[in-house]
């Protein structure tokens, strides 16, 4: 078999996190009873007109800034005309000639830069619901008019792994910047993949095949692998790859032809006369740029550089926005990054059961208070765990609870040492026995100290003190 190079380009759609739809004031919300988030505009009623949602434009600009794009001064919306029952107006409002964002791209961990061609704003279509034979197919327009951004890459990826990493980075940025939730299982992020192969050393790209209907990261990888093999087989057998659009079937694990280039649709794009061109003033762009949160790549630098965390710990924190944000909040309150990440890893993560909703049920303030009390030896290791569990269950103040439940030692270290020294000088016999049978004598010492301190001593501290002193 000859040596082939793979060329991959992605077109990634993500639903924007706006309250309302792109061109009307209906709720932008997943699910709901069919056709309940609808109005004359988004069901394409005769006479209805679109009005652009400014928030959607802002979020698109924000996405562009996260990916290093240039933002156009003037954005134009165009009509993409085609017939399908889920498309209420028989055209989709999209952008062709003047999208909101141009160029930009994302750097992979290897240092390779994957260029973007553009990011544009458009509206989503409704959904067909196939019922029984007698009922037939029904249409739910709840999703119709939901704002989507389409991020189009240049054909810069050369393996499924690179494609996945690129996709992952886009997704991370969108989530971290609060632009989109990218819930793949709800169709919040979808992907079309363009794949071609060519013999190593060949200058021109091979014939490109587009694959649609890819709804998970895993499917992206499988679809690309399948397509690369399919094209290799064709070339190895002396055939030529046909330029076409194929539909990926994730259940069957294979793709099938949808249409060839000859049957490709003519969308008859033209500027939407109902929507005036949108002017994007520079100062608005700069304002959005200033308000951008730290993106994963920047956080990574900070965690490993400034905080000295390991790559493992850093990746763990960055694996979910909630972890990273929680960590950042904790560090602001108590500047011991390493202790905090240890607690997050060992305690917090073990209590997060729900894979969907990664909810941290303890406040940053409580967690840092617990860590601080422990590190100041004001509470025992064991009490710190109990306190953590308590704070996870209920919204209480960790310090107050530690005090009221007697976990918190109110003795100063000096006072406690004085008392412990008293116990030693008052009990020479026990001190002698301790050298041979420490386990038997220790409870006696602890008991004595507790008696003198009315139970306010930290048994851990006491144990440690006697062990070291009488060694």
């Amino acid at each position: 078999m000859k040596d082939y190079e793979v060329t991959i380009g992605l077109e990634v759609h993500a639903e924007l996190k706006t309250n309302t739809k792109c061109f009307c004031s209906c709720k932008n919300e997943f699910g709901g009873e069919p056709n309940t988030h609808c109005c004359p505009v988004c069901v394409g009623m005769p006479g209805a007109l679109p009005v652009i949602n400014k928030k959607a434009v802002e979020l698109t600009i924000k996405a562009g800034l996260c990916m290093g794009c240039d933002i156009n001064d003037i954005a134009v919306f165009e009509r993409k005309n085609y017939f399908y029952p889920d498309l209420s107006k028989a055209y989709q409002i999209s952008q062709l000639v003047r999208p909101i964002c141009l160029h930009g791209g994302v750097k992979l961990d290897s240092g390779k830069f994957i260029r973007l061609n553009r990011i544009h704003l458009e509206e989503d279509a409704g959904k067909l619901v196939h019922k029984s034979e007698t009922v037939g197919t029904l249409i739910d327009y709840n999703r119709g008019g939901v704002p989507l951004i389409e991020m189009v890459s240049e054909p810069d990826m050369s393996s499924p792994e690179e494609a996945l990493e690129f996709l992952g980075k886009l997704r991370e940025n969108l989530i971290y910047a609060d632009i989109a939730e990218c819930k793949m299982q709800e169709g919040g992020m979808r992907c079309d993949v363009n794949v071609s192969i060519r013999e190593k050393g060949q200058k021109e790209y091979g014939t490109k095949v587009e694959m649609k209907n890819i709804n998970s990261f895993k499917a992206v990888e499988r679809a690309i692998k399948f397509e690369v093999e399919r094209q290799k087989d064709i070339l190895e057998n002396g055939g030529t790859v046909r330029q076409e659009t194929r539909r990926w079937d994730d259940v069957l694990g294979e793709s099938s032809s949808m249409r060839s280039k000859e049957d490709s649709k003519d969308y008859r794009y033209f500027p939407d006369p109902d929507i005036l061109a949108i002017e994007i003033p520079r100062e608005n762009v700069e304002k959005i740029r200033k308000e951008l949160p730290l993106l994963p790549v920047e956080r990574k630098e900070k965690y490993m550089g400034e905080f000295g965390l390991s790559l493992y710990d850093t990746n763990l924190l960055l694996s979910e926005k909630v972890y990273s944000n929680f960590f950042d909040e904790c560090v602001k309150l108590y500047n011991k990054p390493k202790s905090i990440v240890n607690w997050i890893q060992s305690q917090v993560l073990s209590l997060i059961k729900d894979e969907e909703e990664k909810e941290i049920k303890i406040s940053a303030s409580n967690l840092t208070k617990i860590i601080e009390m422990l590190e100041k030896k004001e509470i025992s290791q064991q009490d710190s765990r109990t306190l953590f569990a308590k704070c996870w269950e209920e919204d209480i103040d960790a310090k107050e609870f530690a005090k009221s439940s007697g976990m918190l030692s109110t003795l100063s270290e000096n006072e406690l040492e004085k008392i412990m020294d008293e116990v030693i000088s008052e009990n020479p016999k026990a001190c002698e026995d301790f050298k041979t049978t420490p386990d038997k004598v220790m409870p006696f010492f602890i008991g004595q100290v507790m008696k003198k301190t009315k139970g306010k001593a930290n048994s851990e501290v006491v144990r440690k003190y006697f062990t070291e002193k009488l060694k």
């Binding site: 006479g47 007109l49 005309n81 029952p85 028989a90 033209f270």
Partner: protein, 478 residues
């Protein structure tokens, strides 16, 4: 029946001064509609019109505060949505569609107290100049039933001329208010693009469409336009430009009028020329000046219009697909057949012709040659025309080359019909306001119209100039 001869403001005054009840007014109009049924101008009379009239009388009886046009009956073109009423663009494809919301203009008229009497006949989807292409049948000219009322707002114009309502609303994409107004001897204005919200107007060509009133006099036209104008948060193309008191006409002694060389050239071969010449003479005698100017691209108006309007129409009419709102073909077996058969059976010939033309000009490979070129020419033409207004108050030109033509006389060649628009499309393409006022009689004593154009958003000036000419023609300010 003197009652039904009255316009909007006069009728409102009579009702509000309790000289006549609203019920009497509405009954008189309903009687006229019945008497002139053969016109086929009104395709549906609303059942609740009379009960609405009684409510107004009740209010008057109880001395409740009245709105400006409380109790004034109007008829609305069949492409403007009135909540709960059918709206179908006179298309059999849309005959079952009931509007789920009020168009912005309807909301505004409702808020002003207007009563809606019924729906006016029109050319299917506003495509035509004769109102012969309606699924409800041919509409007739109110002054000569053997002739067309013009179109596409033929029903609206015929209804005003035959006194079937105080006034009507029409829509104008290439002349669809002004040409029928001219043919029926009434007043019809196409406002500045963006002056009136298009929300709730079933779109033909979104960048050219405007709604406007057809009336028995100028004062009514100005008042109704004042009411329906203004920025609408539901229509991004509606303008924030201030809505002035259009109905307070400035009274100037003379005006400076612009006359386009290319229009003069065309008029050389037109039989109605003497009528217009005599108007110019009378204006000159009053001391008005004339500025002659050339608009080199004037002859490109029709091609520009037909490229842009059909391109937009083909996209706007995509939603009528047999899947929803429209009548689904009984013969459709799958989704492709729903589209193909429903649209083939549902749309009339003229609509299909324009959908095809529009698809062609937008198709890949032809887009630059047609659509983009037309857009560029549109900009050039707009610049040429708007510069003219630096040296004159208003431009004058005929509304149509001749009086209303005979029904069926322009059936064979669609281009003959398209030539009806040679004087009207320029206002749509350039976005400026244009009014047609009755200005004399042509062949068989049938009315002719004169168009007055001003610069964008100069409706106040437009009405002042129009009232000056109107009074002169009526011999009032001799």
């Amino acid at each position: 029946m003197y009652l039904t001869k009255l316009g909007v403001l006069e009728t409102a005054k009579l009702i509000h001064e309790k000289k006549v009840s609203c019920e009497e007014v509405v009954k008189a109009y309903l009687k006229n509609i019945e008497a002139r049924k053969s016109l086929n101008a009104v395709i549906e009379v609303f059942e609740d019109a009379l009960s609405e009239a009684k409510k107004v009388d009740e209010k008057i009886k109880n001395n409740e505060p009245l709105k400006e046009l409380e109790g004034v009956p109007m008829i609305i073109k069949d492409n403007i949505l009135i909540k709960g009423k059918k709206a179908g663009c006179a298309s059999k494809f849309m005959q079952n569609f009931v509007a789920p919301y009020d168009a912005t203009v309807i909301k505004k008229l409702r808020d002003a107290g207007v009563i809606f009497l019924g729906r006016a006949n029109m050319d299917e989807f506003a495509m035509g100049s004769s109102t012969e292409k309606s699924c409800y049948g041919i509409c007739h000219n109110a002054l000569d039933e053997s002739r067309v009322p013009g179109g596409s707002s033929g029903g609206s114009a015929s209804a005003v001329a035959a006194n079937l309502a105080c006034a009507t609303l029409g829509s104008d994409t290439g002349g669809s208010i002004r040409q029928p107004a001219s043919y029926n001897g009434v007043y019809g204005i196409k406002p500045t693009y963006g002056r009136v919200s298009r929300f709730g107007l079933i779109a033909f060509a979104s960048s050219l469409d405007q709604i406007g009133p057809l009336t028995k006099n100028l004062e009514d036209s100005a008042k109704l336009l004042e009411i329906i104008s203004g920025k609408d948060s539901n229509d991004m193309t509606s303008s924030k430009e201030k809505v002035e008191d259009f109905s307070k006409f400035d009274m100037k002694k003379t005006y400076k009028f612009g006359i386009c060389d290319e229009v003069e050239e065309k008029m050389k071969n037109i039989v109605t020329k003497p009528v217009y010449d005599s108007i110019m003479k009378r204006l000159e005698e009053k001391g008005c000046e004339f500025v002659h100017f050339s608009i080199k691209d004037f002859n490109l108006c029709l091609p520009i219009y037909y490229v842009l309007s059909t391109a937009e129409a083909t996209s706007n009419l995509g939603r009528f697909d047999g899947v929803k709102y429209t009548v689904r073909s009984a013969n459709a077996k799958d989704v492709n057949e729903i589209y193909l058969k429903s649209r083939s059976e549902g749309f009339g010939e003229e609509v299909k012709r324009r959908i095809l033309l529009g698809s062609y000009v937008l198709s890949s490979g032809y887009f630059d040659a047609y659509y983009n070129k037309a857009k560029k020419l549109q900009q050039r033409l707009t610049k040429q025309l708007t510069e003219v207004f630096n040296s004159c108050d208003a431009v004058l030109l005929p509304t149509t080359p001749n009086v209303a033509f005979k029904i069926g006389s322009k059936g064979d060649n669609p281009v003959d019909m398209y030539l009806e628009d040679i004087f009207t499309t320029i206002a749509n393409i350039t976005g400026v306001p244009a009014i047609s006022i009755p200005c004399g009689k042509g062949e068989n004593d049938l009315p002719l119209g004169l168009q007055v154009l001003t610069n964008k958003f100069e409706e106040k000036k437009l009405y002042s100039v129009a009232s000056y000419i109107d009074a002169l023609l009526k011999g009032e300010n001799a």
